[in-house]
């Protein structure tokens, strides 16, 4: 059963130096507050896992918190590059970073395998691309039809952290809007934290809402506004201006460090 604790307690209890951590949220409900708490606690040598690194991982990579990144699309959506991610890969600044990349379909199916506690998932993909030679994918022959398919290994992060709109006092969580891979990430991980906009007496079930029961979650922590500058549908709005502004903040190393220092995120 999920314990309802403060954000700092939840992060302290789950994220140690060197951990593999998935902070998920596909273009929506990105757990910024939790990622920032990881930085405030000074965690380093992390294996960061996320389909779309987005600004949050640009910040975490830029301060040198990550030793490895597992991902499928590392851009600033609609704006351009993630400059800190690029600097780390292209110039090893502030430290070299190991990269393991997949397609979105590959990453999504890796989470599905992880959530299912299966060793791998099969899919059509990767064949005939250079990705197949550069990442962790194999081929399997379908025992029924003989078709050659791609096999992607299960992803079971040590910790998954996601953000949702609300939880009740037993830690049952509901999110709605774009559901991404949050449910899969929570079920795939060994331990999980869900930050929420608000705690309510009773969940009001919504059509299309995704409910994650409290008995598969370790910690629930209130974090109002905790996905900004991403958003929580119906509660906060995506700060598109900040996504554009980030391009300017992050382009230059010194400017980036000054900004992160101002926010207390240098760890």
């Amino acid at each position: 059963m999920a314990q309802i604790v403060s954000l700092s307690e939840a992060v302290e209890a789950t994220v140690q130096d060197g951990a593999s951590v998935a902070l998920e949220g596909f273009t929506h409900l990105i757990p910024f507050a939790a990622g920032h708490e990881v930085l405030r606690q000074g965690r380093r040598e992390l294996e960061l896992i996320r389909m779309t690194p987005d600004i949050l991982y640009d910040q975490m990579i830029g301060v040198g918190a990550a030793r490895k990144l597992v991902f499928s699309y590392g851009g600033n959506p609609g704006v351009g590059s993630l400059h800190r991610f690029r600097d780390a890969v292209e110039h090893g600044w502030p430290r070299p970073i190991e990269v393991e990349e997949h397609s979105h379909a590959g990453m999504a199916n890796r989470y599905v395998a992880g959530a299912s506690r299966l060793p791998f998932m099969v899919m059509r993909g990767y064949q005939g691309t250079d990705l197949a030679t550069r990442t962790n994918v194999r081929t399997v022959i379908c025992p029924f039809t003989g078709e050659q398919l791609a096999a992607v290994p299960a992803l079971n992060p040590e910790v998954a952290i996601v953000h949702a709109q609300e939880a009740d006092r037993d830690g049952n969580v509901q999110l709605w809007g774009i559901p991404g891979v949050q449910k899969e990430a929570v079920l795939a991980a060994q331990r999980s934290v869900v930050t929420v906009e608000r705690i309510v007496d009773q969940l009001e079930l919504r059509p299309g809402g995704v409910v994650i029961p409290g008995w598969v979650i370790d910690y629930v922590a209130p974090a109002p506004g905790g996905s900004l500058p991403s958003y929580a549908l119906g509660i906060t709005e995506r700060d598109n201006d900040f996504y554009r502004e980030w391009d300017r903040i992050s382009r230059d190393r010194e400017h980036f460090q000054a900004w992160m220092s101002e926010q207390g995120l240098l760890g």
Partner: protein, 232 residues
């Protein structure tokens, strides 16, 4: 009657026309999104827009900045998880057309969106594959929208992210290329663009169709709709 327009506007208009009569289209952000919204306004109000974020049948009023903008989820016919998007919708070919972009494209319409330079020590690290590889093999028709330059149109990709077999059109700011026997061939130039200009901006030996066409300039209706759309 002639109306002033930019070649970028014409590129968007030509991309929108390619969606006339189509059932559904997978789109990313930027020019593809603008073109698909324009298609719904002018050519094909029933076109189903599918965004990678899981929003199927999205009807945004404004061109979204990101594929995750709230308006996409709120206006969609259904919103699905990422695994469902790829396993139930993209993979089995339920989406007819895909609009894709890329940093590099080769004569067989293979695409690179991963790195410029060597993979282990890239000169430019690009965002990566995203959904493109499976979209390009799942959708029946792939339309590539790209700026026409020697940097983009290359003989040899630095990295093959996405396969080009299903590409039917490559729409640039200079014209349109289509595969002929598996090789991209210039079939249409935009008004005022010469074949030599296209050749000078193409990094591989350019095949040119014997029945080269000139694209129809934007109509007043198309141009007004486009400008109204981007001003929202």
């Amino acid at each position: 009657m002639s109306v002033d327009y930019t070649n970028g506007e014409l590129q968007t208009v030509v991309a929108a026309r390619s969606l006339a009569g189509k059932r559904s289209c997978f789109i990313g952000v930027g020019r593809p999104s603008t073109a698909a919204l324009l298609a719904r306004m002018v050519h094909n109000p029933r076109l189903v827009l599918v965004y990678e974020s899981g929003t199927i049948g999205a009807k945004p009023h404004r061109v979204p900045l990101s594929i995750g903008d709230g308006e996409l989820a709120q206006s969609a016919d259904l919103v699905v998880s990422v695994p469902e998007m790829f396993n139930y919708w993209i993979g089995p070919g339920r989406v007819q057309v895909a609009f894709l972009g890329a940093a590099q494209i080769d004569p067989h319409a293979n695409l690179n969106s991963t790195v410029i330079g060597d993979y282990a020590h890239p000169r430019t690290r690009l965002p990566g594959a995203g959904g493109a590889p499976e979209i390009a093999t799942g959708c029946a028709e792939v339309v590539v929208i790209a700026p026409h330059s020697k940097r983009t149109f290359v003989q040899r990709l630095d990295f093959k992210t996405t396969r080009g077999e299903r590409t039917t059109l490559v729409i640039t700011d200079l014209g349109v290329l289509e595969p002929r026997d598996g090789v991209l061939t210039l079939t249409t130039v935009h008004p005022g663009v010469s074949v030599d200009e296209v050749r000078e901006n193409t990094g591989f030996e350019l095949a040119v169709s014997e029945s080269l066409k000139v694209s129809e300039p934007p109509s007043t209706e198309e141009l007004n709709a486009l400008r109204e759309l981007v001003s929202r």
